[in-house]
């Protein structure tokens, strides 16, 4: 003991290194369980931002026992926890409503956003349903202007056997960082696909009718 204090010996140094390595390894083992969620940084590059969210969600879905039994509600919960915080669904709803948004009063707008949220969650869940143990998300190289405020991140969801599914995310830059506001599954943009349905329902029964219809869908 005394020796170590007086001289900084080679053996003492290597012992300390060994200890440090052990501590580091123990820490790694402790966090290694696949449930560990990587921290999401909304101010990172768009590709990195989307990749973190998507792989967190994919990992969670893969490891969840209820999901393995085919529990769709559980996927919805996971999407709500892991994806929705990074989605600007107010913007999604507003763009889907288009010019009709102007006719809605603030209460109707809030109710519409809340009612459409369920549909959005089920759509994002659809992109994650049927994943298997070897499913993988490959983010495609970023195309377009990296300094733009409105960008698209492209990805492929690969499955064990069968064609991969193209899933693209449209993002906008906000003061708080990136937010996803539109989703494309196999060349079909979500907002675009709801515009006619919204307009049609509003024409038939007004904004309140649309809110009611969306809420009915949420109960199914």
């Amino acid at each position: 003991m005394h020796d170590q204090h007086t001289s900084f010996s080679i053996t003492g140094m290597s012992r300390r290194l060994f200890m440090a390595a052990c501590v580091a390894l123990a820490a790694l083992v402790a966090v290694a369980p696949a449930h560990a969620q990587a921290p999401v940084d909304p101010k990172a590059e768009p590709n990195v931002f989307v990749e973190t969210i998507a792989s967190n969600a994919l990992q969670a879905v893969k490891n969840d026992e209820a999901v393995k039994r085919g529990d769709l509600k559980r996927i919805n919960e996971l999407v709500d926890q892991l994806i929705m915080p990074y989605v600007n669904f107010e913007k999604t709803t507003r763009l889907a409503a288009g010019r009709h948004w102007r006719q809605a009063n603030p209460e109707q707008r809030a109710a519409l956003v809340e009612a459409f949220k369920g549909t959005l969650i089920r759509t994002y869940s659809g992109a994650l349903a049927n994943v298997d143990a070897v499913s993988r998300i490959d983010i495609q190289p970023f195309r377009g202007d990296a300094n733009a405020d409105d960008v698209v991140v492209r990805s492929l969801v690969n499955r064990s056997n069968g064609p991969s599914v193209a899933v693209d995310y449209r993002l906008e830059k906000t003061p708080q960082g990136w937010k996803v506001y539109d989703l494309n599954i196999e060349n079909i943009w979500l907002i675009q696909n709801y515009r006619n349905q919204f307009a049609q329902q509003i024409q038939q029964s007004g904004i309140d009718g649309l809110i009611e219809a969306l809420n009915r869908n949420n109960l199914k």
Binding site: A110, N161, N196, Q200
Partner: protein, 265 residues
């Protein structure tokens, strides 16, 4: 028992016809402002309801039974063998569209899958990063500058457009289609069984999409129509410009964009 099973399809057929008649009659009255790309919406909604009735009574249960009774590896093998045939057709269309890169990629897929993939049974090409490039005659016509024409719902077949429907029918009539090699089989029962299996496989592959539509659509008819048109447009746009153009929502952007947003709770 035997007697019963023989009559079931006929009864269901007439049930479907009755449903279609009702839907046709009601459909004509309800459509107020058809989408510009769907001028025949009233008629289409009638056929859509007819298809749904037949599908729900016949094709969907068979497809689910097929999924439940066949082991997943067998189904994936069957899917991939048909996929390999489709690739031949895709490659041919890439050639018609003067897209050499796609042509050689798809040709490579076919050669790789037919040999290493045991006759197409295993999609080894996709596993090695050579992704499928879907292509067909309707897309080729689109690349050549022909618009889709009105949206149509064909009986049994489902969503199509004047252009895509004509391409499919024309291809079948001229005997150039994904199933050309199957039609070359002389043994009629074998040939028809394979075509039946192809149809079954196709229907089974759509079951998941079907469930997603049921869970998310406000109006299934509009949802499927808009999804079909979006996807078909994207396939053509990807080939005629550098990338599919993004939908532009800005013409509907609010003047009060920066107004304080309502509390969403």
């Amino acid at each position: 028992m035997k007697n019963q099973t023989r009559h079931t399809p006929r009864r269901r057929y007439s049930l479907g016809l009755a449903a279609a008649a009702v839907a046709l009659a009601s459909g004509c009255a309800t459509v107020e402002s058809p989408s510009p790309r769907d001028p025949l919406e009233s008629f289409n909604r009638g056929v859509f309801a007819f298809n749904d009735a037949i599908d729900g009574a016949l094709f969907k249960p068979i497809a689910y039974a097929y999924r439940d009774l066949t082991p997943a590896p067998a189904r994936s093998c069957i899917r991939n063998v048909f996929g390999n045939l489709e690739d031949v057709w895709s490659a041919f269309n890439s050639l018609l569209q003067a897209r050499g890169h796609d042509f050689f990629n798809t040709l490579g897929r076919v050669m790789f899958n037919s040999t290493m993939g045991l006759g197409g049974c295993i999609d080894v090409a996709t596993m090695n990063g050579a992704h499928k490039i879907n292509n067909d005659l309707g897309t080729t016509l689109g690349v050549w500058g022909i618009g889709t024409g009105p949206y149509l719902v064909a009986p049994i077949w489902g969503p199509t457009t004047l252009r895509d429907g004509a391409a499919t029918l024309g291809g079948l009539a001229a005997n150039v289609s994904p199933i050309t090699p199957i039609k070359a089989i002389d043994d009629v029962p074998v040939r028809n069984s394979i075509i039946g299996l192809y149809a079954l496989d196709t229907r089974e592959s759509l079951l998941d999409a079907d469930e997603l539509v049921n869970r998310t659509a406000l109006d299934r008819y509009s949802f499927i129509r808009d999804a079909y048109l979006q996807r078909r447009d994207a396939l053509v746009n990807q080939r005629t410009s550098d990338g599919a153009a993004l939908p532009d929502y800005s013409d509907d952007e609010l003047p009060d964009y920066t107004d304080p947003q309502p509390d969403t709770q």
